[in-house]
């Protein structure tokens, strides 16, 4: 992408933005936020059917359109702007990516076309009660039985785990971390939606009681693929964060232009103007972190991807949180109400901040990758 966008990419942004303006406006976001499942199947189908968002970056041989990560980044930025609810992140940034990275061609051929066409909702179940995103955090046990692999234990904080038709589950076998596929209706699987602080992003707890599972790739060899998946998801989440932060700032600046106190618009006071300027500095800097990440992903340079992804999460999480907090501040009392959308951004910022590990965790990932 050369760090600037082409006309086709500008066009893609426009199309996605106008689609989401129609289907993920504030009313839609609030409706889905209030709903336990938080998913609109009609919009989901149209996303796939009309603009092909689920399959955008899935290679053509698996039914997708084989676009770049830069393109996908644009979509996530727009999804963030619109606070899109539903399983897009779980399906595309986590599950599809994990399938692409794991060493199992058959599984890719079996499972990716369904994702690309919008038929399948999928997610990656990685975290457990410890809330850890690293390799030692994966404790769920998988047993090799004469009838095939069986999972016993629990996963939790699984993004859209209650909705997914297809669960990719990271589990521990005698030789290490392995990745499994579990069907939503598999025997012995219990799924419990978790009420969330950020109602625009749903989570579930999954309990496995000897649940049958299909092993993906070689036993014990899944961690590198998962690590890469998390790196990709980190960059895409950062894109979402930047998009949402930009929308929050727009709301703050709009308000600062019209709200009058002391006989003049509050945006004419330096205390407010300079705060808004600092928000933009955060956002543009965060945007640079995202674009560097997308650039690295499209360049397929593993070392660079690892650095850029950790950097993007370390920086963009805090940037979004700060911008969302300042947006409430600029709005004053009205920004503190349930009715005003400002809190939706703040809560999305707080859930994003921990979704793939905290900023401190990503700083440490970065440090490790830098060799310090």
């Amino acid at each position: 992408m050369d760090l600037t966008f082409s006309q086709e990419q500008d066009e893609l942004r426009k199309v996605v933005r106008s689609f989401l303006a129609k289907h993920s406006d504030e009313a839609a976001v609030r409706r889905l936020a209030a709903d336990t499942r938080g998913h609109d199947p009609v919009v989901w189908r149209r996303m796939a059917g009309e603009i092909g968002l689920q399959g955008l970056a899935v290679p053509e041989e698996y039914g997708g359109s084989g676009s770049s990560y830069a393109d996908l980044g644009i979509v996530f930025e727009e999804a963030g702007r619109a606070l899109l609810c539903g399983p897009y992140f779980a399906t595309v940034a986590l599950a599809a990516e994990a399938l692409l990275r794991c060493d199992d061609e058959q599984a890719r051929c079996d499972l990716l076309p369904g994702i690309a066409s919008g038929e399948t909702i999928a997610t990656l179940a990685l975290t457990e009660d410890s809330g850890r995103w690293d390799e030692p955090g994966i404790r769920l046990a998988a047993h090799d039985t004469p009838g095939g692999w069986r999972l016993t234990g629990a996963k939790t904080y699984v993004p859209d785990g209650h909705l997914a038709d297809l669960l990719l589950v990271a589990a521990r076998t005698p030789t290490g971390v392995s990745l499994f596929v579990v069907d939503a209706d598999a025997h012995g699987l219990t799924r419990t939606p978790l009420p969330t602080l950020d109602q625009t992003r749903k989570q579930a707890r999954l309990e496995f009681g000897g649940t049958p599972a299909r092993l993906l790739g070689a036993q014990g060899a899944a961690w590198p693929a998962l690590e890469r998946t998390l790196a990709t998801a980190s960059v895409l989440l950062a894109a979402e964060q930047v998009g949402a932060a930009a929308a929050a700032l727009e709301a703050a600046a709009d308000y600062a232009r019209i709200r009058v106190q002391y006989g003049r618009p509050i945006g004419s006071f330096q205390g407010i103007k300079h705060k808004c300027a600092d928000m933009l500095v955060e956002i543009e800097s965060a945007r640079s972190a995202v674009y560097a990440g997308l650039w690295a992903l499209d360049g397929r340079d593993d070392a660079e991807i690892g650095l850029a992804a950790a950097l993007a999460q370390a920086f963009c999480s805090e940037a979004f949180t700060r911008v969302a907090g300042d947006t409430i501040q600029v709005h004053g009392g009205i920004g503190f109400t349930w009715e005003h959308p400002a809190h939706l951004y703040l809560k999305r910022a707080k859930s994003s901040e921990v979704l793939l590990g905290t900023p401190s965790y990503h700083r440490e990932l970065l440090a490790a990758r830098l060799g310090i």
Binding site: Q270, K273, L311, S360, I372
Partner: protein, 392 residues
């Protein structure tokens, strides 16, 4: 940072690399990385190096041939700055003329002015200083009081300028003066080119906090310059000044970027050496310093990519200075802290090492070229469209 600008500029790049390998030797090589936009260190060596570059025909890569440039495009200019920075050649002493005055004349100068002034800039025969700020006109540049009046075929200029970078070396100044005595603020200003070698011009160095006589104050008493020395139109000096300040720094940010990257690497080395990485508070600041420099890199590359693609740079071009200056200062503070008591010891005659000098000089980065506060106002008003402050 490794960048490849493609096959079209490979010959150009190779020619430059070969030239640098042959010429960046001896005394010049001993001054690798020395200098900065407001750093007067090793002035004589750096000036000699600029002349060496001029002899190699490397200055003004994208300036038209008729004025002594190479007549190449923005891409070659970027390649030049990038290779230059990679080689860590001394920071050019003539930056003011090359990055500001030259582009300003190319944009707004009369044909005669371009012919007269650009070739000696590229030959490093005439050095320039910027005479905008005054004791009473800093951020509020529109309140300049220096006066210029017509006397036949000459302008006669009186007043005081201050903070003129490398002023003591300047052969010429570009001066913002009030030519309509009844005018106020932005109206009635004129941009004049003024020779310093005359009785009416007195330039006194001002010592900066790093102990260098880098900038200067300029006293003008009936200083004279020709009637044809107006850039743009008489009375339209504000427009000319804004054009000068608005010159997109694009490619010329690359050497500074690479300097920052080297400083970030040096910071990591220092941290390792001092065992600072085990301290969680320091560790966090060290990683954040590294992150900042990486972000500056991408921000610069975004702007360059947009410029080369013929697009108008996005908002990041406006936020970049505020971010970079603030974060670079933090990096300097941290480096000094990590250096510990040894970092407090200076050489003879307040001789500073690179780290000390870079840290101290970084304090100016949030002041010149529009202070951070002014940057925030510009971002708020021009990018975010927030209302202006009412004038008292």
């Amino acid at each position: 940072m490794e960048l490849d600008f493609g096959p079209a500029v490979r010959d150009f790049r190779d020619e430059l690399r070969d030239w640098l390998a042959d010429h960046l030797v001896g005394e010049f090589a001993a001054h690798r990385g020395v200098g900065g936009p407001t750093d007067g260190a090793a002035w004589e060596v750096r000036l000699a190096w600029d002349r060496e570059l001029a002899r190699g025909h490397w200055l003004g890569v994208s300036w038209p041939r008729e004025y002594g440039g190479r007549g190449l495009g923005l891409l070659e200019e970027i390649v030049f700055e990038y290779e230059y920075a990679r080689a860590n050649a001394p920071y050019r002493a003539t930056g003011n003329a090359l990055d500001l005055l030259g582009p300003l004349l190319l944009k707004m100068g009369a044909e005669e002015q371009k012919k007269r002034f650009l070739p000696p800039v590229l030959a490093v025969e005439e050095l320039w200083g910027q005479g905008f700020s005054e004791p009473g006109a800093g951020s509020d540049l529109a309140s300049v009081r220096t006066r210029a009046e017509r006397d036949g075929e000459a302008w006669v200029v009186s007043g005081q300028k201050v903070w003129t970078s490398f002023g003591v070396h300047a052969d010429w100044l570009y001066v913002l003066a009030r030519t309509d005595p009844d005018s106020a603020r932005h109206r009635g200003l004129t941009m004049l080119l003024l020779p310093t070698d005359q009785p009416g011009v007195e330039i006194r160095p001002i010592r900066n906090l790093a102990g260098q006589d880098e900038f200067a104050e300029v006293f003008l008493s009936d200083a004279r310059t020709g009637a044809d020395m107006v850039v743009g139109e008489a009375g339209q000096g504000w427009r000319t000044a804004m054009a000068a300040l608005g010159i997109e720094r694009g490619a010329t940010l690359l050497p500074q970027q690479l300097t920052f990257e080297r400083e970030a690497e040096a910071l990591l080395d220092l941290a390792r050496e001092r065992g600072a990485l085990d301290d969680p508070m320091l560790r966090r600041r060290i990683i954040d310093a590294w992150i900042s420099v990486r972000i500056m890199r991408t921000t610069n590359l975004r702007t360059l990519a947009e410029l080369t693609a013929g697009r108008t740079p996005g908002a990041q071009a406006t936020t970049a200075k505020l971010y970079a200056s603030t974060r670079h200062q933090q990096l300097g503070h941290l480096a000094q802290e990590l250096a510990g008591p040894a970092g407090q010891i200076v050489g003879e005659d307040y001789g500073l090492d690179t780290r000390q000098r870079s840290f101290l000089l970084s304090l100016a980065e949030t002041i010149y070229g529009g202070s951070s506060e002014i940057q925030r106002t510009i971002i708020g008003e021009q990018v975010l469209g927030l209302p202006k402050e009412p004038r008292p």
